[in-house]
Amino acid sequence: MARLYEYQSKKLLKDGGVRVPEGEVVFSAAEARSVAEKIGKPVVLKIQVWLTGRAGLGGIQFAATPQEAEDKAARMLGMRVRNYVVDRLLVEEKLAIKAEYFAGLVIDDAQKCPLLVFSAVGGTGIEEIARRHPDKIATIPIDVGAGLPEFEARDLVRRAGLTGSVMIQLAELLVKLYNVARNKDARSAEINPLVLTADDLVYAVDCHLVIDDYAVFRHPELGIEVAREFDRPPTELEKIAYKVEERDHRGTFYFFQMTDRIPAEGTFIGFHGAGGGGSMMSMDAVLNRGFKLANYCDTSGNPPASKVYRAAKIILSQPGIRGYFASGSGVASQEQYHSARGLVKAFLEESLSVPAVIRLGGNFEEEAIRILAAYCRDLPAKVEGYGRDDAPETCAARLEALIRENKAVSHEVRPIPEFQPAAGAYAFGTLTGKLFIDHGLCAGCKSKGCIGACAPKILKLVGDKPVLAIAPEEAKKGKCTECLACEIFCRFHEQNAIAVHLPIPGLAEYRKKSLKERESD
C-alpha cells in the first residue's frame, strides 16, 4: 500500500474541496522561515514521516515567530526517527481549536465495500477513546455504485452525537473525503484530528491517505516511486528490485529488506520465497530455527528464469549473509526448473561462498533438483535441492548444519564486471536482455544440444551454427522466454559459447557505492 505524506494527502483533500490549514512543505530551515513569514501568524511545524504518534517523538512543534520557526526547523530536519532521517517538514498556520473529531475510511473485507467511521471524539489515542466511548462512534457501509449521499453522512454524524450546523459541515466534508478516496483509489483515508475552530469552521488538521498498490498505475500524478506496503521510504536496493518488477510483468517479484546493514551478531540469511502462503510458512520455519532474515523476497506466479536470476542477484547484494534459503509451498504448479536455472546462473556468477538450501517442490521438481546438483557442484559452498516431500523445518535444519560446516563464513559482495560479449558474436534481443552466441566456438560442438534444450523451440541450425528460427522481433517480444536452458547446457556440456546478458539497472553502481562505503568504515 503506497503511503502518502501528510502534505500530499492534504493537497488532495484541498483539491477535493476540504478545508485544510494554510501551509507548505519545506526541506530547509530557511524555507521554514519564509513560509512562516508568508503565513504571518504563529505556525506549527510537523515532521513528514509515515508514522503515527509524532508528537511524542518531538516531531510536532509550535513557533510564534518566523525566527523561532527557522530555529526549530533546523533542529527537526535531520532528526532520526526509527529507520530514517527526517528530510521534510510541513509548516502551517496554528489554529484555535474548540473540538476534535475523527473520520476514517477503510475497506471492509466482510461486506466487500468501503466503510466510513466517524467519531465525535478525536486526537491522539483515538483507539483507546473509541474503546471507552463506543457511543461516540458510528460507522456506515458505502455502496460503491451510488457513492455516499449527503443525508447518510448527516445521519452518521448524528448517530455519533453531533447535531446543528457542525453536523451539516461535517457531513459535507465526509462526502468530499469519500470522493477523494474513491477518485484516488485510496485503501484507507483518515483525518485525525478533524477539528472545529474557535470561529466554527471545520478543518482537516492531519490526514493520511494510503493508495491501493494495484491502482497506482492510474495515478501518475501522485509520483509514487515504489508502490509497496512499507512503513518507511524504500532502500536503494528495494528501488532497484522494484524497477525489475516494473519492467517485467511475467510473474511477480517482491523484495523487502529487514535491515540495510547487517550487524555482526546473529545469523542473517538471504530469504527467497515463492508464493505468499508458502513463503510465510518457510519464513516461520527459519525464524523458529533462530535465523534472522536480511530480506524477505517472493518470486511467484510463474516467473521466468530471468526474473528469479535477478531476484537472486539482488539478494546476493547484501554483504554479511551466512546462507541462502529458498522455499515455497512445496507443491507448486509451475515448472520448477525455471527457478533452478535462474538460481544456478546467479550462484555461478557470484561464485557463491555461503551455503544454499533450495526447496523447489512441485511440477518437475526432480529435474530442478538435478539441475542444482549438477551445476552447483564446483561452487565454494554447498547448494542442496529439496522437493515436495521435504518439510521446510527439515530444510531449515539442513541450512543450519551447512552454515556450521562452512564455519559461518559470511557472504562478500563483489563488484559486477562490465559485460563483454565475444567479438563478432551472433546476437538477438530478448524481452529484458540480450542473447549472444559465439559462433566461432560452435565448430567444436558435437551435440548441438542448445537446439533441444531451448524450451520454446526458437533455435535452428544453419550449417553447424544455432540461429533464431523466428524473426528477431518475435524473440524480443517474448517468444524467447529467457529460460536460460541453452546457456547452461552449452556452458557445462559444450563450448560455453552462449551468454544471456540480463542487466539489472543500477545494481553495479549500487555495489560499487556500498563497497566504497564499507572500505571507508
Binding site: 509515515w50 508514522l51 503515527t52 475523527f102 476514517g104 477503510v106 475497506i107 471492509d108 473485507d109 466482510a110 466487500k112 465495500c113 466503510l115 467511521v117 483515538i126 483507539e127 473509541a130 460507522t139 455502496d143 460503491v144 455504485g145 474513491r182 483509489d185 485503501r187 484507507s188 483518515e190 493520511h208 491501493d212 494495484y214 491502482a215 492510474r218 512503513d231 529487514m258 515463492a274 508464493g275 505468499g276 502462503g277 508458502g278 510465510m280 510458512m281 519464513m283 516461520d284 525464524l287 511467484s300 510463474n302 509451498s329 512445496g330 507443491v331 507448486a332 504448479s333 509451475q334 515448472e335 517442490g361 512441485g362 511440477n363 515436495r388 516431500d389 518439510a391 523445518e393 517474448g478
Partner: protein, 297 residues
C-alpha cells in the same frame, strides 16, 4: 458431489489466446473440464486446442448455449470490464485468476455480482479443482500432475494461498485421503468467495465429511469462520493452519481499521477464536493429514 464445479459445468475462458490463457486451456481440457468456448475480443473464429474462440461472451452464449462458469486470464486493469461482460451474459460463477486487480474494481465486481445473483472466486487465485471431474484456473499446472496429486474423496480444502492449496491436498492424498473440492480463495484483501462462504458450501455438500483450511494473518476471514461455527451454520470437523506466526506483525497504520476490527486479523486472535469453537488448529501443515486420520480414521 463436489462444490461449485463438476464435469458437466459448462465453462468458458476469457483471454484464451494469451500466454497464461492458452497454457491453462490445455490443462483444463486435458483434465476433463467441459470447456465450451474461449473469448478474446478481435480473435473470433480462431481455435485454441480445439476450443472455438469468440469475440464476446454474448457471442459465445449465442453460438454455444448457456454458460455456467467463466475463467478469466486477462491483464488486471481489464478484469473489471471482462467480469461485467460475463455477468451481463448470464454467467453465474467467475474465477478471476489475475493478480493486481485494483481493489475498487473488486468492490464494483462484487456489487454487480450481488445484483445478478452471481458469485466469483479470486482475484489472485490459482482456481479450484474437483478431483476426477474438472479444474478451473491453473491448479496442478499439467493434467497428468493434477491427476497424481489430487484424488477424489471426502475432504474439502480451502486456502488463502495457491501453493498451499496444492500442498495440503497433495499431503492428504499421500496419506490416503482424497478431496471433494480444493479451492484457492485468492490472496487479496477482498475476494469474492472467502473462507466462511466456502465453508457454507462444504456444509451443504453431502460428500464432504471434513474440511482443511489454510488461513493467514490479516483480514477477518478465519474469525468469520469461527462466528459461523458458533452460530451452528458450519458443523463438520475443521482442521486449520494459520500462516504468519513468526512474521513481524505489520505496524498497523489505520486507526479506523483498528476501531472497526479491534484485534481481529492477528495470528493469536485467529487461533484463539478458532480453538474456542472447537476447530483443530495445527502447528505445521504436515499435521493436517495426521489430524484427518484422528477424525476420519
Amino acid at each position: 458431489m463436489s462444490i461449485l464445479v463438476d464435469e458437466k459445468s459448462r465453462v468458458i475462458i476469457q483471454g484464451i489466446t494469451g500466454r497464461e490463457g492458452m497454457a491453462r486451456a490445455q490443462l483444463m481440457k486435458d483434465y476433463g473440464t467441459n470447456v465450451v468456448a474461449g473469448v478474446t475480443p478481435g480473435r473470433g473464429g480462431q481455435e485454441v486446442y480445439g476450443i472455438p474462440v469468440f469475440n464476446s461472451v454474448e457471442e459465445a452464449r449465442e453460438k454455444r448455449g448457456p454458460i455456467d462458469i467463466s475463467v478469466i486470464f486477462i491483464p488486471a486493469a481489464l478484469v473489471k470490464n471482462a467480469a461485467l461482460e460475463a455477468f451481463a451474459a448470464g454467467v453465474k460463477l467467475l474465477v478471476i485468476v489475475p493478480d493486481r486487480v485494483p481493489i475498487y474494481d473488486v468492490l464494483d465486481i462484487s456489487r454487480a455480482a450481488k445484483a445478478k445473483g452471481a458469485r466469483f472466486v479470486g482475484p489472485n487465485t490459482l482456481g479450484l479443482l474437483s478431483p476426477g471431474k474438472a479444474v478451473l484456473g491453473m491448479i496442478g499446472g499439467r493434467a497428468q500432475r493434477a491427476r497424481e496429486w489430487f484424488r477424489p474423496g471426502d475432504l474439502g480444502v480451502s486456502s488463502r494461498s495457491g501453493g498451499m492449496t496444492s500442498a495440503i491436498s497433495y499431503y492428504l492424498t499421500r496419506a490416503g485421503f482424497g478431496q471433494s473440492t480444493i479451492i484457492h480463495v485468492g490472496g487479496d484483501a477482498v475476494v469474492g468467495l472467502s473462507h466462511p462462504e466456502v465453508m457454507e458450501l462444504f456444509e451443504s455438500d453431502d460428500e464432504t465429511k471434513a474440511v482443511a483450511m489454510f488461513g493467514e494473518i490479516g483480514t477477518t476471514q478465519e474469525e468469520r469462520v469461527a462466528d459461523l461455527i458458533a452460530a451452528g451454520k458450519f458443523t463438520k470437523p475443521l482442521i486449520a493452519f494459520i500462516g504468519g506466526k513468526a512474521a513481524k506483525s505489520g505496524t498497523r497504520f489505520s486507526h479506523a481499521g483498528a476501531i472497526v476490527e479491534g484485534s481481529r486479523g492477528s495470528y493469536e486472535t485467529k487461533v484463539q477464536r478458532l480453538r474456542e469453537v472447537g476447530v483443530h488448529v495445527v502447528d505445521t501443515i504436515f499435521d493436517i493429514p495426521k489430524k484427518a486420520k484422528d477424525i476420519l480414521g
